[in-house]
């Protein structure tokens, strides 16, 4: 799905990013992960949601990056933020305190109830593939008022059973999450390269609610490791607006240009102790 879709000239990543951006209401407070979530949030901020508040786990609150960060702690995030706080503070004072509206996550595996694995493929003791691990995801999944998940859909990633439960979605479904006392409502949408899955209102099992132009339900089912339910009012999402695509591509181009610059360090900084460049 890396190639351009049939109709217009856009990639699956672009479609996912634009679709994710559309889920964000202006003024919402988002706890943003790096990669597609960050691209989606910054696209939204440049289009319909200029007042979107972005919080990165590096403690940069209210960041307005001019290019996309490559890491969660790029200087660009600090330079454009309303404030920079410590990591313990951003997790305690913002996330755990219930100040975050939307958490953005991705994962290597997701199950039918929106539970996520970012830790390991295979057994923990003798892993086939060791993944990066928890990071901020378990607490984002617990505390953000709602969670958006962005990930590409395949039978290897949309699995009947997680190898490791890193972050809680709806647990076993049918209200188990809410009974456990989680303050956040859990994953409200899973945006994939085929469309959008949402939890069934009662069973909390993810079902296909929307597909991109040119996508078939059979293709989505083939990419899902469990028997995928389909909403009775399945929607076909509009193709990305040219303006959205232009904005996204400009953002990516500026990002590539900025990050390609070679780094040179002057070892004689002790001679020139530039005091405090704000």
């Amino acid at each position: 799905m890396k190639t351009a879709h049939a109709a217009g000239a856009y990639t699956a990543d672009e479609m996912m990013t634009v679709t994710a951006a559309r889920q964000l209401a202006d003024g919402a407070v988002c706890f943003v992960g790096i990669g597609l979530p960050s691209a989606a949030c910054n696209l939204a901020r440049r289009t319909h949601a200029p007042e979107l508040v972005l919080i990165y786990e590096s403690g940069t609150v209210g960041a307005r990056p001019r290019v996309l960060p490559l890491s969660i702690g790029d200087g660009e995030l600090a330079d454009t933020a309303d404030c920079v706080v410590s990591l313990p503070e951003v997790f305690a004072h913002y996330l755990q305190r219930g100040r975050v509206d939307v958490g953005f996550l991705s994962a290597a595996q997701i199950d039918r109830h929106g539970n996520l694995n970012t830790t390991v493929i295979g057994s923990y003791a003798r892993p086939a593939v060791r993944l990066p691990g928890s990071g901020g995801a378990p607490e984002i999944a617990a505390h953000a008022r709602e969670v958006l998940v962005i990930m590409k859909q395949s039978p290897r990633s949309f699995v009947p059973r997680l190898d490791f439960l890193t972050s809680c979605g709806y647990l076993g479904g049918a209200g188990e999450r809410s009974r456990a006392g989680f303050p956040g409502r859990g994953p409200r949408a899973v945006i994939t390269d085929f469309g959008i899955l949402r939890p069934h209102p009662e069973t909390e099992e993810l079902q296909l609610c929307a597909i991109y132009p040119g996508v078939t339900v059979d293709a989505v089912r083939a990419a899902t490791g469990w028997p995928l339910g389909v909403a009775h009012d399945l929607q076909v999402l509009p193709a990305p607006q040219p303006a959205d695509l232009d904005t996204l591509r400009e953002l990516h181009a500026a990002t590539r240009q900025t990050h390609a610059a070679a780094v040179r360090i002057n070892l004689r900084t002790a001679d020139a102790p530039a005091s405090h460049p704000h």
């Binding site: 790096i34 590096s58 403690g59 490559l70 890491s71 969660i72 702690g73 200087g75 600090a78 330079d79 920079v84 410590s86 990591l87 313990p88 997790f91 305690a92 996330l95 755990q96 830790t119 923990y124 003798r126 892993p127 086939a128 593939v129 060791r130 993944l131 990066p132 691990g133 928890s134 990071g135 901020g136 995801a137 378990p138 607490e139 617990a142 997680l162 490791f164 439960l165 890193t166 972050s167 809680c168 999450r177 456990a180 006392g181 303050p183 990050h259 390609a260 610059a261 780094v263 040179r264 360090i265 002057n266 070892l267 004689r268 900084t269 002790a270 102790p273 530039a274 005091s275 405090h276």
Partner: protein, 281 residues
Amino acid sequence: MPLLTLADAIEQHVRDGQSVALEGFTHLIPFAAGHEIIRQGRRRLHLIRMTPDLICDQMIGMGCADRLTFSWGGNPGVGSLHRLRDAIERGWPQPLTIIERTHAEMGVAYQAGASGLPCGLMRHYADTSLDRVGGPRPRLTCPFSGDSLLAVAAINPDVTILHAQQADEQGSVLIRGITGAAREAALAARCLLVTVEARVERLDAPLNAIVLPHWLISAVSIVPGGAHPSYAAGCYPRDNRFYGEWDAIARERGRFQQWMQQYVLASRDHAELLRRLRIAA
């Protein structure tokens, strides 16, 4: 606070078998200090770092550590840490015991350590697989609300190593920009080593700046570029290109060892390493 060369600071303060936290969140990662530990051949270290990053990838791959406490072990924006994976997946160059936490837990653990408390608290609602594999994660009941809370053991490293922008004549250190849990790790430590970009007469820090007073610091070393390929706000940017290239260097054992030999071990110090990498003239 004595001013030492980095080699002397590591020589005098870092011992085989100790727990060593190297903090700095994407920003201000103390690479020069990590390289010096590799050069001096420390063994059986318990490394502590929220995001092990390339620095722990290198130290683990060079056999300095047999234990790692961490919360996210990837190459940010790139992919895997291949040396970390090789140690976990195949025990090369030696088995690595991992103590795995979440970012929020590490934050609470450092904060408790910095506060002289044996543990800290956080909210927790349902077990994850980490509760199964990560050792005991005991709960405490809030005596006021009845809520069940997760108790997190404090982290008090034997040594914490940070990189920062400036030290003044007394050895007080100014840190500017993203800190992650660096300050908490510093205050939690039994011994605190800091490398800085530059020494200045006075810090002229704005009110409410993050300053570590000289009397909390065991040694300061002046190491310009000491965070490369991470960055130092106001001094130089993150070397994203190097982070990208590392993926290919570290993917295979032989090439990794050759690279470490050619660059880190063959360089007397960090300045020489930066010149070999053509980062500095």
